[in-house]
């Protein structure tokens, strides 16, 4: 209507915000309420699905961690920041344990692809984000032991995923156990059948044993 009206209406908004910052509760999300969270003292509630840098999970002893060094996550990591070397036992045969499992946190972009592609549920995304450090090369290059965290930690930060992973592992273990028994039973049945077959063969063989052995002894 007159020249200054838009300006006055806009200034009224900021004045209302100024007054409401005292009247409305801080962090209530209403218009005009303060939104500051005093970071070190107060913290926002952590979301379960929040993903920061990965960590390796082990069940009860740090030695038997779930990772079998199959190198799938290293190949699938977009910026290639995982470096795995298999452990070799005395005879030099590579074992299913990573001797070296380095993740370079300066390169990792916490995209969570390693967690998705890991067939053994061995690597998960952590919630720990206060890991700033002074030296880029050594301190932020996490080795296997720095990455290890217990299953309880995993349950603490991600309860639903933890339960789901555990149920899945439990089923897999039972399935494997059932399969083992089945295989064991099948093996016994086969062994028994074989034993029975030999027994009959042994009896037939006794009557016409001499001719068979000469044929076998002079192979072409």
């Amino acid at each position: 209507m007159f020249f200054g009206l838009g300006i006055l209406r806009g200034m009224n908004i900021t004045l209302m915000n100024f007054i409401r910052s005292y009247t409305r509760k801080r962090g209530s999300g209403e218009i005009g309420a303060l939104t500051t969270v005093q970071y070190p003292e107060e913290r926002l509630p952590e979301k379960e699905k929040f993903r920061n840098f990965p960590f390796l999970i082990y069940d009860d002893k740090p030695e038997d961690l779930r990772c079998v060094a199959c190198d799938i996550c290293a190949q699938d990591c977009p910026p290639r920041c995982i470096y795995i070397v298999k452990e070799t036992d005395e005879a030099g045969k590579p074992m299913k344990k990573p001797a070296v499992f380095d993740i370079d946190f300066t390169v990792c972009m916490n995209c969570g692809i390693c967690e998705e592609v890991c067939p053994f549920d061995a690597i998960f995304m952590d919630h720990e984000f206060e890991i700033a450090d002074s030296d880029r090369h050594d301190k932020l290059l996490y080795h296997r032991d720095d990455l290890l965290k217990t299953n309880e930690h995993f349950h603490k930060i991600r309860p639903n995923d933890g339960r789901e992973v555990d149920t899945r592992l439990a089923e897999a273990k039972e399935a494997k156990a059932k399969k083992d028994e089945a295989r064991k039973k099948a093996a016994e049945a086969k062994a028994a059948a074989k034993a029975k077959a030999e027994a009959e063969k042994a009896t037939e063989a006794k009557e016409d044993k001499p001719p068979e052995t000469e044929k076998e002894s002079d192979p072409q």
Partner: protein
């Protein structure tokens, strides 16, 4: 309570008279005033920075500094120490002399004006009978300081900033002085004390139509004079980085900062003196009234800063020459009408309505004349 500071000063002078010969007493009283102002200026500036950050923060739904000291009260000290520690960089082939002299030439006028401000009943440092003229003259010296800063930094952006701020200072000085003339007509003297006395028992000039308009014009020109939003062209961060004080760091930059805040205080102080009845006020001691009113006006300045975007250079000039100057001239005419219609009674209805009608008509007329700057109405079709 009201004359507290005056009694303190008298006691000090009395103390020195007992010890030294009488002429030293005069020196002591001068020294006390100087020390008071020299302490008051920077102190006001320090806590104005804190108040600004707190108020603007509250307008933006955040808390503002509250880490250093109880409610951030020590924040100004922290800033001061930081400014002292910061390395003072002088560009290589800049003009060393100008670079060094510029902040001094900007802070000095800002501090000098304190001498004329009537902080309370007979608490004016120097009771010049040309007080207002002193204020106008001193505030025009600041322009040269900005020139020196712009030219001394040998930086394209600061030259641009320097040009802009000088054009702005000159073109806003004239409406500022013109808007003071009605007060001088009503009071008949240039002395700040006389002006405040004339506004005794609620005869504040702001309640008269011409006084209100004069106050608005004076305040706007004052805001433009000390380069604060919405006229902060000289140090427009988004366009020319920091204008004339781009190349300053450390204590020199702190001086620029101090000059800006002190001139903000003096402008608000002068507006209170001229239009809001200075230290006149019912119950509280006089100096408290002065500070309350001044900080009220400073709150408005911070409110401007938190809300309004800045004007472009040509719009700024157009506002000064084509809007504020004619309005202040018409304001003088309105004062004369008010003066002769009101037969010595301050609030006569006729003397109130006729100038009011004249001013409203001229405001509307000027709006019509400045058509290209008026916002257009736009229609936005919503199509499929």
């Amino acid at each position: 309570m009201d004359q507290m500071f005056v009694n303190i000063k008298a006691a000090l002078v009395g103390l020195s008279d007992k010890v030294f010969p009488d002429w030293v007493g005069v020196l002591v009283s001068i020294a006390v005033s100087i020390v008071a102002i020299a302490l008051l200026g920077p102190l006001i500036m320090m806590y104005l920075t804190l108040i600004e950050r707190k108020v603007v923060a509250r307008m933006q739904n955040r808390i503002g500094p509250n880490r250093v000291g109880k409610y951030g009260l020590l924040q100004p000290l922290a800033d001061g120490v930081k400014m002292l520690i910061k390395e003072d960089i002088v560009p290589r082939n800049a003009d060393k002399v100008l670079h060094l002299l510029a902040p001094i030439l900007i802070v000095a006028p800002a501090l000098l004006v304190f001498a004329v401000l009537p902080f309370g009943r007979n608490m004016t440092a120097v009771d010049l009978n040309v007080g207002i003229l002193f204020f106008a003259a001193i505030s025009s010296i600041g322009t040269i300081g900005i020139f020196m800063a712009a030219w001394g930094s040998n930086n394209k952006f600061s030259v641009l900033g320097g040009m802009r701020s000088v054009a702005q200072m000159i073109s806003y000085e004239i409406p500022m002085v013109m808007s003071v003339v009605p007060v001088l007509l009503a009071v008949g003297s240039l002395s700040t004390n006389a002006i405040v006395e004339a506004q005794a028992d609620w005869h504040w000039f702001v309640f008269t139509p011409w006084g209100f308009l004069g106050c608005v014009i004076f305040f706007l020109c004052g805001v433009a004079e000390c380069n604060r939003s919405p006229f902060d062209l000289a140090e427009a961060e988004s366009e020319i980085i920091a204008g004339f004080h781009t190349e300053y760091s450390g204590m020199k930059f702190a001086l620029f900062y101090m000059a800006e805040f002190m001139s903000a205080f003096t402008i608000s102080g002068m507006t209170t003196t001229l239009f809001l009845g200075g230290w006149q006020g019912p119950l509280l001691p006089s100096w408290l009234w002065f500070f309350l009113k001044t900080y009220g006006l400073i709150f408005i300045m911070l409110w401007f800063r938190a809300t309004l975007p800045r004007l472009r250079v040509d719009q700024l000039m157009a506002l000064a020459w084509k809007f504020l100057l004619p309005l202040s001239l018409v304001n003088i005419v309105a004062t004369c009408i008010w003066h002769f219609l009101s037969d010595e009674a301050f609030f006569t209805p006729a003397a109130f309505l006729v100038p009011l009608a004249l001013l409203v008509f001229s405001y509307w007329g000027l709006m019509k004349l400045n058509q290209p700057y008026m916002p257009e109405k736009r229609v936005y079709p919503l199509v499929d």
